[in-house]
Symmetry: C2
Subunit: 210 residues, 2 copies
DNA sequence: GGCCACATCCCTCTTTCGAGGGGTTGGCAA
DNA sequence: TTGCCAACCCCTCGAAAGAGGGATGTGGCC
């Protein structure tokens, strides 16, 4: 093995214990080092600019600016940036959005060190890393649902408990149109009513609470 | 300082990186040591029996058996057990249930090492540890809501998108009674309709998805 | 025994939902 | 050009939802 310069890593996660865990994990690999830790998306973007790391370990859910938004921002300025998305959940839409935001890989926090390390190396080397159970689901699900941006907006208002008329006012359209979007949503998500639509959307990561 | 026997700790969390983080954190304290790691509730109970640790760091959400159930089981057999509940969320009901299950402390994963270490020490010493912003909320909220077990059951069916009539069939009561419970739920949660009731219940940890 | 919370059942009435149809526009791609 | 689709608007109609009342039985608590 030729000694090369180590892989310089930026960690972005709002949970202290997770940052510590990643730090400890990276320390077990002699050719990697953590050069910075961010606790939210805004900080992650700022630190990327300043440190220019070889790899970013980015949590998906963070305060102020989430991992998707931060990744998109970094990717826009630095298309060569290598971001590995790290998350607890495996909602389809999250993964989808992470990839289209420019993430090169996607790993669940449940993963053990044996699964994480190869992912780190792969993404740092510029390769893609999507667990196969996830990528196969991505392909099959894509044929169905896929809500339009407008439908997602309606869904968000729905989750607040607003009535159709109220949603109409918020979105500055008529109640007829809201009902129309709702019909499409119920059909695409294959659910019986607005309440189930919201719970399914939450499960799939299409919308978030608060 | 007199050298005493170290605090023996059992970690229970389904996320590898979190376990690593806690491990690293404990290692910074010379008088503490991790004697076991469990990745779900069932394992946590089994390991408690075998290892008899001085302190358990228990994650609230885990597969197979969650932290609450595991704590309750441990507490039933060993009332002197010292369990510190560790979680990402701060839903009121979760905290409530954690305490009544026998947890002595409650800490958010967002907390830094400076906040976590004193919590560990306090609970290991048999004291209680509830962050004040949480305990004050506990006191005030208790005056309001507090759904009855039956109302929670209705709420769970509600989240599935069932109609009142369908819920009536499931719970083997009449639709009138379902509507009745629903009225109480909407009143106690102070929401406008069933959809908002579900989202608020999810936020407060009263019900869970899937 | 009185009080209260819980759970159950019943009825009325207005509003809202959701399913079913009808349509126009603007953009984009084959 | 033709087609497609998102987004918008319109109308009807039966079935739910939710607010308002009232009522009964049970069990705990002081």
């Amino acid at each position: 093995m030729k000694p090369t310069s180590p892989i310089r890593i930026l960690i972005a996660d709002d949970h202290f214990v997770v940052r510590m865990g990643l730090l400890a994990l990276v320390k077990t690999e002699p050719d990697m080092e953590v050069i910075g830790e961010a606790s939210d998306g805004t900080q992650a973007v700022e630190m990327y600019e300043r440190l220019q790391p070889d790899l970013v370990l980015m949590d998906l859910r963070m305060p102020r600016k989430d991992g998707i938004a931060a990744t998109a921002e970094i990717h826009a300025k630095h298309p060569q940036a290598r971001v590995l998305m790290l998350t607890t959940y495996d909602g389809d839409t999250d993964i989808h959005r992470a990839i289209s935001a420019g993430a090169r890989g996607y790993v669940l926090k449940q993963s053990t060190g044996d699964e994480l390390i190869p992912a780190l190396r792969a993404v740092a080397a510029g390769e893609k890393w999507i667990p196969k159970e996830i990528s196969s689901r991505l392909a099959s699900r894509k044929l169905f649902d896929e809500l339009t941006p407008r439908e997602v907006q309606v869904l968000e208002q729905l989750a607040k408990g607003l009535a159709n008329k109220e949603i109409a006012d918020v979105l500055k359209i008529t109640e007829y149109t809201v009902k129309d979007h709702l019909k499409n949503i119920l059909g695409k998500l294959q659910v019986a009513d607005r309440t189930e639509a919201v719970t399914v959307a939450l499960q799939r990561g299409i919308i978030r609470l608060h």
